[in-house]
Assembly symmetry: C2
Homo-oligomer: 349 residues x 2
């Protein structure tokens, strides 16, 4: 019942503790024959090294870094908050975390930060990624040095990371479409979409998922080509204001950020407004839900993602397999299933 120790393994393999230790921590200078015997004994006994004891022994500290885009984007502020909050609690378990702000969506900036990291001893990094192949080389270098790399929210080149932690954005778009479709109750309609930029992969993916479902399952709803906003609230507000003055739109869907502008425009408008779906639950989208200016928020649960990032990074660093974690799915918020407002609560404190 009690887990076998390395001494047990050594005994079973017929070698000394020292040799077993050399194999387990591959320190070299061990004959293939002995190595073989030890590996067999490990398999036979089901030995798993006690990470707590190991960490205690060497006084290990896990050094993690999170690279997230700079700027005043409410969503990334929320991400940042969650990282800090989680880091506080992990501190006592030997995890130190550094949050590195990177110039938003600029490959060069990210590249630079990665190079800076190369010189330091870091155990794992989570990166809000860019698909650019320009990153491949430095990421490969980092990983060659044993650094665990995961993509967060937005993926990196597949070969450059051990895992991607984020939602499926096509599914997110499809989900939005489903709700828009259902909201029409079989009646015809016309949806105006908004996007920051078609170069942002997540925006493009959401749009394609959105289109796909509406075309297939709700053909009586027209989908208009997206208005490009650069995620700028000012642009969104102006465009939305103009739009809302014309009747005929039965739904609005913004795949990108800058929702405060959209919400401001909706707030001004009188009378029946179109069905509105946006992404990411932050202070203003939350309030807009409560005040009925919008109907739905599709959220990627950054709290769950951050949680997962920590867990995955530790598992990668410890080279153990992943414990069960909640699945990541695009979450639909209406005004009735909002979580307690932790951020607001914190602000008060």
């Amino acid at each position: 019942m009690p887990s076998p120790t390395l001494s047990d393994v050594a005994r079973a393999a017929g070698v000394s503790y020292a040799t077993a230790d050399r194999v387990i921590n591959n320190r070299g200078n061990v004959a293939e024959k002995s190595s073989e015997k030890v590996r067999k004994a490990v398999a036979a006994l089901g030995y798993v090294r006690n990470i707590a004891a190991a960490n205690l022994s060497r006084g290990r500290i896990y050094k993690l870094a999170f690279l997230i885009p700079q700027g005043s984007n409410a969503f990334f502020n929320r991400i940042h908050q969650h990282i800090i909050h989680t880091a506080e609690h992990q501190q006592r378990e030997g995890v130190t975390v550094e949050v590195i702000k990177v110039a938003a969506f600029a490959v060069e900036g990210l590249q630079e930060s990665l190079l800076a990291l190369l010189g330091r001893d870091i155990d794992g990094i989570a990166i809000v990624g860019l698909q650019s192949t320009a990153l491949e080389k430095s990421l490969a270098q980092l990983r060659a040095r044993g650094v665990a790399v995961v993509g967060l929210v937005s993926d990196l080149p597949q070969t450059s990371r051990a895992a991607y932690i984020g939602i499926d954005n096509i599914a997110a778009g499809r989900t939005a479409a489903r709700t828009v479709g259902l909201s029409h109750g079989g009646h015809s309609g016309c949806v105006q979409t908004f996007a920051g930029s078609m170069e942002a992969r997540d925006h493009a993916e959401r749009l394609s998922g959105f289109r796909e479902v509406l075309e297939a399952d709700f053909p009586f709803i027209d989908v208009l080509d997206p208005i490009m906003t650069k995620d700028d609230p000012i642009v969104l507000q102006a465009q939305a204001r103009e739009l809302l003055s014309h009747p005929g739109f039965t739904a609005l869907y913004n795949v990108g950020a800058g929702n405060s502008g959209l919400i401001a425009a909706l707030q001004e408008a009188k009378g029946k407004r179109p069905f509105c779906v946006v992404h990411e639950l932050v202070a203003h989208s939350r309030q807009a839900l409560l005040e009925r200016h919008i109907d739905l928020v599709i959220d990627q649960r950054p709290d769950v993602e951050i949680n997962r990032a920590f867990t995955v990074l530790r598992a990668l660093i410890d080279e153990k397999d992943l414990p069960p974690m909640p699945d990541l799915v695009p979450t639909i918020y209406v005004r009735d299933n909002l979580p307690a407002d932790a951020l607001t609560d914190k602000m008060k404190a």
Copy 2:
């Protein structure tokens, strides 16, 4: 930077390690004056005992028990699966788990299981609860012996548990109502509700939340009194079949279980069907979503709940404060945001 050790505390307090140890592990035989000094030093240095080292030292094993209702209920099977799965991974970290099946929704059965637990040395239990005050005494006894008790999915008497892990069922009902309301796109309608029993607190709560939102925000939708089903698929199928033969129902909402019956009836029916909302994502509700027999599933994410139960129990047992965990909210599933089907995947393997 490195955490202070108990030796540091002892030195700071001007007492010996032995005395500091006596205070920390309250072994008694220590003068109030010394005790005071030690506590002050603890506060001053911010000492937190190293749980990994402590567990290593005493070879601690956390003994947990989960009490869940017996029977072939798909939802509880899912719960059971998650417990087993999580337990496997926790095993190597010194956690043993026992799942105790209790006669469904019978206070006596639960009571009996609790009494049986009284004799054994258990560190924590999670109970799919009953609100009954009959349980208060045995729960109080257990807790007096230092057993951590949390309510799972369905709450226990408030004073009898340290935490409740489950969704707010009123919010769940409100959420269902919101989606039903939105699906009517401003048109009038008529919803038939189904419930297992009004004595089940979660059923009653969901219904009241459902009613509340529809009456307040969608007064043009009629809510019919619930058909009582005892969560029996046969009953549901018969009732639904009958219902579907009449036109005029624009939505169906089942707050309880037994959905396979409802789905079977929907499957038989031809033509346009009402908007359908049910609770809990399990094999058949998942399939029904995919095959478009129903529109929405409100789920309480048992995977998240189980995860949380383990985390909370450990925190209670270790007497440390709670690490950040994902919020528990009623989750809305449509056919486009379903998680990967872990259970099915497992069945195959």
